[in-house]
Symmetry: C2
Subunit: 243 residues, 2 copies
DNA sequence: CCCCTGTGCGTACAGTGTTCGCATCGAAGG
DNA sequence: CCTTCGATGCGAACACTGTACGCACAGGGG
């Protein structure tokens, strides 16, 4: 909220606003929270420092008192969101269920914040904040307790798959969201052209999208696809468990 | 090359340049090729329409005669680069070797053009150009010939892993390149702080970066890590082959 | 009372993608 | 040969972007 209103062309002590106790002021946490809200609602390219400042009843440059740069703000947002990922505590004898839970939690978090994978692809997941560190730590505990001789290699294998699939899904959902349609509508509208394009490719047409008229829920199809690939990776990892 | 030089303030028929036969003019292919060269050399955020135009001895807005928008240009660049990915022809009885070759080719292409995964994450790999289509077609042929009952699911499993690992590696290499150091130097400089940070996390410290003084070639470590995860996925897939 | 430190913000700069209308070209048609 | 025309290049302009700088003000401690 600006101190001198535009409607009062003559600045004076009396026209000045009394206080600004209406909002809990401007803090780093509030900025990060609002940035995440904007990113979720309008996408990554809609976030600008000016719009973010306006949302917080502040000027654009005021944000720089609490955040060094926009890139740093994005890193803070990533770490904030990383806290949402749930990793079961180590000790569960059913390690596959625990890893499945962690992988699924990563995926739903990435789909809830479709900009996450984009930022990860730019910054890499090295050197990151406390929430990301504790996420990694809990994963390491989980895989170590499961008995893997090289936990970090196993983690990399599983989560490379999870990141790759989540990235693809997030990009797809972003495209769908931009169309303004539901996923089912979008698929229905795209199906004829997709079949037409893949008509010239024998094996793509054979293995391609189901031509069956029974249009299954696309979200369920994605769930199944993710689960299938995850089972593949876990089966491969199970072969490497000692004993 | 501008038609009226700045050094001749009075435009006239005589001061005008004769011809512009020095370059093969401006074509969509030339634009895409030069864009890829710029992207490889200076990174994704260094590519602007003005700089690209300048490199081609053209004005920025001239590019728009051949390319509708910058996003379209990026899609063209992605498809151009997709032609570099080598997929062995279907028929080789050793399907693991063939898939390993295709996966490795994707990875090296993604690392040679570190902006690839970023654009893929934004656009998704649906609906793409001819080179990407034939890449997918050849993959489908390969996995079908290998005998997989659901080739698309197997492809998604393998290449989600490949994409995830390549994205992470590309981000890492981009960070290294920005530092101006070699990968080994960068690792050496980062190691003390990495150990210090992970000191508070028991399992991370245990499973973390090797403290051994014998500094192996980081590139080889990455190669091994990629190969390990790929073997994991292929082992899991092999269990799903009939018979 | 004064000063000092922290916070907000108006202005400005260099850069971005893209649109528009004008200038100019090579080729086609009479 | 002259004219017309569609294709191509481009300068100027618009609406933005991230960010540096310096001033204005607040509250608190000496």
């Amino acid at each position: 909220m600006s101190r001198a209103k535009d409607k009062n062309p003559i600045p004076s002590v009396w026209t000045r606003e009394q206080r600004r106790t209406d909002q809990p002021a401007l803090s780093r946490d509030a900025i990060v929270r609002e940035a995440i809200a904007m990113l979720d609602a309008e996408g990554i390219e809609a976030l600008s420092m000016r719009k973010l400042g306006a949302r917080l009843n502040a000027g654009a440059t005021s944000l720089y008192r609490h955040v060094a740069t926009k890139d740093e703000l994005m890193e803070l947002a990533v770490d904030e969101v990383a806290a949402e990922i749930h990793v079961p505590p180590a000790g569960d004898p059913d390690w596959r269920a625990a890893v499945t839970e962690a992988a699924g939690s990563f995926r739903t978090t990435a789909l809830r914040h479709p900009w996450l994978t984009l930022v990860l692809g730019q910054a890499g997941l090295a050197y990151l904040g406390p929430n990301y560190m504790s996420f990694s730590e809990r994963l390491a505990a989980l895989f170590t307790a499961a008995g893997f001789p090289e936990p970090s290699r196993a983690i990399d294998a599983v989560f490379s798959y999870v990141i790759g699939m989540s990235t693809t899904e997030a990009a797809w959902l972003t495209t769908v969201a931009r169309s303004g349609e539901t996923e089912a509508e979008f698929v229905a509208r795209l199906l004829p052209t997709a079949q037409q394009v893949s008509a010239g490719y024998d094996h793509l047409a054979a293995a391609g999208p189901e031509t069956s008229a029974e249009a299954t829920d696309p979200a369920k199809l994605r769930d199944d696809k993710f689960a299938y690939g995850l089972e593949v990776v876990l089966d491969g990892l199970a072969l490497r468990l000692p004993k």
